[in-house]
């Protein structure tokens, strides 16, 4: 299928769903509207709400806050993950001692931490960043750990025979391998940074997309909830596109098929 044709079909799916939604929420079938607008709103109200947000500019502040929280969560979580992943992989004893605790921490559903973070860090952005960090950290941590562990024995022996010392092995072998694993999980970790931010906002905040959705739900403004979800989806897709571009640059040495290994 050509690119143009694919885009066309993809657009058709959206049109079909919106049309169906419109018909079911506005046109009575044998005297009854199948989807009551009170619960399902309708495409026009939702569209109007979205346009309103952008025309008045009210949405930008929320978008900026959510974006900022996601970026902070991603950067801090990644830094921590890289640092600890590297450290644990190079110090098997440390890794062995901490292993059960790492597993315990990772098994914990992060949502239960949200109230605690709010308690510790307040209603501002940092409690959301913290929630995102707990999600991003483990993905990056496990990938970097794996990346260092899984360096091919032949490549390592070759590096040593070519005269590399410990420091050079780090720089030319372990580091690129760890980063490549981290980059190949970029979609997941960036996605989780956004999830952390939005869920955090949803559970208690004064700004952000999650807050917007939560507020609308609070007053049974279904159009507002749907509008918030659409803006959030568009936001996530945009970020995902950026990640794809970044990935293509960072992993250009890898065969296309292997890029999404992790």
């Amino acid at each position: 299928m050509s690119r143009g044709r694919l885009l066309l079909y993809q657009a058709l799916v959206a049109v079909a769903i919106v049309a169906l939604w419109h018909v079911l929420t506005t046109v009575p079938v044998s005297g009854r509207i199948l989807l009551p607008p009170f619960f399902f709103s309708n495409p026009f109200d939702v569209g109007k709400q979205i346009v309103d947000w952008f025309v008045t500019g009210a949405i930008w502040r929320h978008l900026a806050i959510t974006l900022w929280e996601s970026i902070l969560a991603f950067v801090i979580g990644s830094l921590g993950g890289v640092l600890f992943g590297f450290w644990f992989a190079r110090q098997p004893r440390v890794a062995a001692v901490f292993d059960p605790y790492v597993k315990m921490a990772n098994a914990l559903p992060r949502v239960v931490l949200a109230p605690i973070f709010t308690l510790w860090l307040g209603l501002g952005i940092w409690s959301k960043v913290a929630l995102g960090v707990t999600l991003v950290f483990f993905i990056v941590f496990f990938n970097v750990y794996q990346g260092v562990k899984e360096v091919s024995g032949a490549v390592l022996a070759n590096a040593r025979m070519l005269g590399m010392n410990e420091r050079q092995l780090m720089r030319h072998v372990y580091w690129p391998s760890a980063l490549s694993w981290m980059f190949s999980s970029l979609h997941t970790s960036v996605g989780f940074a956004v999830v952390g931010a939005v869920v955090g906002e949803y559970l208690g905040s004064a700004a952000g997309l999650g807050y917007l959705i939560q507020q609308a739900e609070g007053v049974f403004d279904v159009a507002g909830v749907f509008a918030g979800m659409f803006v959030l989806s568009a936001f996530v897709i945009l970020i995902d596109l950026l990640v794809t571009v970044a990935e293509r640059r960072l992993l250009k040495w890898r065969p296309e098929a292997e890029r999404h290994a992790a």
Binding site: A154, V155, A157, N158, M161, L162, M164, V173, S177, W253
Partner: protein
Amino acid sequence: MEAGRSAGTPAIELEDATVAFRLADARMFTAVAQARLSVADGEFVAIVGPTGCGKSTLLNIAAGLLRPVSGAARIFGQPLAGLNRDAGYLFQADSLFPWKTALENVAIGLEVGGRARGEARARAERWLASVGLAAFAGRYPHMLSGGQRKRVGLAQVLIRDPRILLMDEPFGPLDAQTRQIMGNLLLDLWSRDRKAVLFVTHDLEEAIALADRVVIMSAGPGSRIIGDWRVALARPRDIFEIRLEKDFHDLHREIWGVLKDEVMKGYAQSATPVETRA
């Protein structure tokens, strides 16, 4: 006096080197038993043996990557402790850095040795040209064919100008034509400064065509060196042509007579696992 002595000193000398691996169930598996081998400076020695007999193991001892449990390895007369700094090693498995381009792969050995990056890259370009890959400098390993990757590997090793060259079935996975082209390329590069070469192959014809001496190993476990032939064929050689010569055939028949039995034994043994020494 000093020069006279070092001229006679072998580049590689294995003296009754025995290698055993600890298996998962804690038993010891003797891969190579009392290997005795000497490679003179400037000599091209090929090792042939059935698969799994311990050829890679032997190279790893010479490289200093493995320590024998008994016996000794000496490099230019010095007992080998740690890695063999005089050796360049072309591995059997793919061992280029996948995240570096062909050029960066070749240059890295000089860069980590403290050469300026510009100089290292310039020399790497010349080396890529001499293995026929000038146009592929910017490619990553996965964009190269198997034969091209081996050529990059060869340049990567030779750019450091090691006094000893260890090669582990370097042309093993390549097709017949590419093997012969690579063989001639190797002989051409080697003839420029005649390093000591220890070359492992499972292909007896390739061994005879390339080497000054052919060494045969017995089937494992506890593999030994069971034969050592001098190849008196004239140099420079063209390995397309040399296979047609009568001397080549005579030597081939003679060595094959010994090797054949070991190959059969090797197959029989790999079917039934045998452990030596508890």
